[in-house]
């Protein structure tokens, strides 16, 4: 079964607000609406991490949200792409340095596409998601090759690793 070709035609979106101001979230909602109509790319907003391919995250990560964010990311099946929507999801934005904020989601999960703006425009979100589609395709190819050749998938760490300056992650349910 050619799963990869189907995945390219209908990537499903998971949206999580990691402590933002709702601004980017309503723009994601506006993307689903008839004027911008993200469904023409086959995208549906799902609520289930186990069925989704693209994770759209908004907001600077608050200390209470980070465990949930990592949990959701871990529950998504490979291959998966993360899109950071908005200035505060990318770097922390205006909230950077506030006592309950971590400043950007890339401290906790690897981010593939950064979308700028406060708040992001729907056009920018669509552009970011379309870029994410290309990344999803290459990731799928890598994964399939690794299955065919029976070797480990290439895991390049292109991320700026800021994890070691942040606190360690505790499990959600203890």
């Amino acid at each position: 079964m050619k799963l990869a070709s189907y995945r390219k035609k209908s990537p499903w979106i998971l949206h999580y607000n990691a402590g933002g101001c709702n601004g980017c979230d309503i723009e994601i909602l506006a993307c689903l609406s008839p004027k911008y109509d993200i469904e023409r790319f086959g995208m549906i907003n799902t609520g289930n991490p186990k069925q989704s391919d693209i994770l759209l995250v908004t907001g600077p990560v608050t200390k209470r949200n980070r465990e949930r964010l990592v949990e959701i990311y871990a529950q998504m099946p490979e291959p998966k792409v993360v899109v950071a929507c908005g200035a505060c999801a990318s770097t922390g934005g205006v909230f950077r340095g506030m006592y309950n904020c971590e400043g950007g989601i890339d401290q906790y999960i690897p981010v593939d596409v950064y979308v700028c703006g406060c708040g992001t425009r729907p056009e920018q979100i669509i552009d970011g998601v379309v870029q994410a589609l290309a990344i999803l395709e290459t990731k799928t190819k890598e994964l399939e090759e690794s299955v065919r050749l029976n070797k480990e998938a290439i895991k390049e760490n292109k991320q700026l690793n800021r994890r070691n300056i942040a606190d360690e992650i505790k499990p959600v349910y203890t």
Partner: protein, 362 residues
């Protein structure tokens, strides 16, 4: 007694825009008790406003408290800072602030209505409402320069002027919008399928609403006539531009929809009145003073009464800033109104509260 089950909703859920956690205790589909957990989004804005930012920068920071009612936050902060500085802003700035607040109310109410429709399982109505909502976003972009996070109010006045061609386009678009709003009103009022999910769901009585301190459309749907626009006249002249109170009696999801839709007509009338009688004056009052003393401000945000308290000490940085958001007042009633409803209608009830947790938690 039937066996009780605990069902959680959140922090991540398809029907929620923001992290919010409800724990329902159910008995054969009936909700018997609810626990709400709203502080996922606490960022520490108040502390940063009193230490990291100067008082003129704070109006841009408090806009980021909430993306839906950012103009209410910036305006309320600007007003409280003007009280501390003891300045009077130009008349045109007052009217332009009211104009943007009402445009923001249109987009916020339509978003809430579409969300109620989606969570009731009426996807087509969600799409229709969102389609009709786009005009308000375009108008806000034309007036303020950004679709959301319009930093329109600044300390001392407003940042941009209203151009004549923009004012003309607002009037034209509003004229086009009125028949669309009539159509929406018809669907929300008379659609039988929607009424099955909405009528009688999440009801709260007038006495309970009074006892639990409910504000905004939530209170007005229960028959409680509370609106800051009706009470204060000193900062923004609401009655002069044609404000009218809208109330319903039943207090359920249907009544909240009706209150929001009827408030849209009032907002449209206010905007038309403002544009027809916009006075000519400067936009900003300049001052070199520093904030001193204490002041409070109340303002009607789309979700209810917004309260700001500020204390200055004759320096660039404020000593204390306190924000009390409308949803914070409603949390107690939100958990109360679930009791006795079916679990299946819980998402629609949550959407009809129009909760704004980034305001609540700051």
């Amino acid at each position: 007694m039937a066996k009780q089950y605990e069902i959680p909703i959140g922090a991540q859920h398809i029907s929620l825009l923001e992290p919010l956690h409800f724990k329902f205790t159910t008995e054969n589909e009936k909700i018997v008790a609810t626990e709400a957990n709203v502080y996922y989004v606490h960022r520490g804005i108040e502390q940063a406003c009193c230490s990291k930012f100067k008082f003129r920068q704070v109006s841009f920071v408090v806009g980021r408290v909430c993306g839906l009612c950012s103009i209410s936050h910036t305006t309320a902060y600007s007003q409280v800072a003007e009280k501390l500085l003891k300045i009077e802003i130009p008349l045109r700035a007052k009217y332009l602030r009211m104009l943007v607040i009402e445009l923001d109310r249109i987009h916020s109410h339509l978003l809430c209505l579409s969300h109620v429709a989606e969570n009731s399982g009426f996807e087509a109505l969600f799409m229709k409402t969102m389609q009709y909502r786009e005009f308000s976003m375009e108008l806000l972009e034309a007036v303020c320069g950004n679709r959301i996070q319009y930093d329109f109010s600044i300390v001392g006045g407003v940042a941009r002027d209203l151009k004549p061609q923009v004012a003309q386009s607002i009037m034209e678009r509003l004229k086009k919008f009125i028949p669309q709003l009539d159509e929406l009103m018809d669907i929300y009022k008379n659609n039988w399928t929607l009424s099955l999910k909405n009528k009688g769901a999440g009801a709260i009585t007038k006495e309970d609403a009074m006892r639990l301190n409910v504000v905004g459309p939530f209170a007005r749907a229960a028959g409680l006539a509370v609106d800051v626009r009706n009470e204060t006249e000193d900062l923004l002249p609401w009655k002069e531009v044609g404000f009218e109170m809208v109330t319903e009696t039943t207090g359920d999801v249907y009544a909240r929809n009706m209150v929001r839709l009827r408030e849209l007509y009032v907002s449209i009338r206010i905007i038309e009145n403002i544009i027809n009688g916009l006075p000519e004056s400067a936009l900003v009052t300049e001052t070199k003073a520093f904030p001193d003393g204490e002041a409070t401000v109340r303002l009607e945000a789309p979700r209810g009464e917004l309260f700001y308290y500020a204390k200055g000490n004759k320096t660039q940085v404020l000593e204390r800033l306190k924000i009390k958001a409308p949803t914070f007042s409603n949390v107690a009633a939100m958990t109360e109104a679930f009791t006795g409803n079916e679990y299946g209608s819980a998402p629609a009830i949550i959407a009809s509260y129009d909760p704004c947790l980034s305001c609540t938690a700051r």
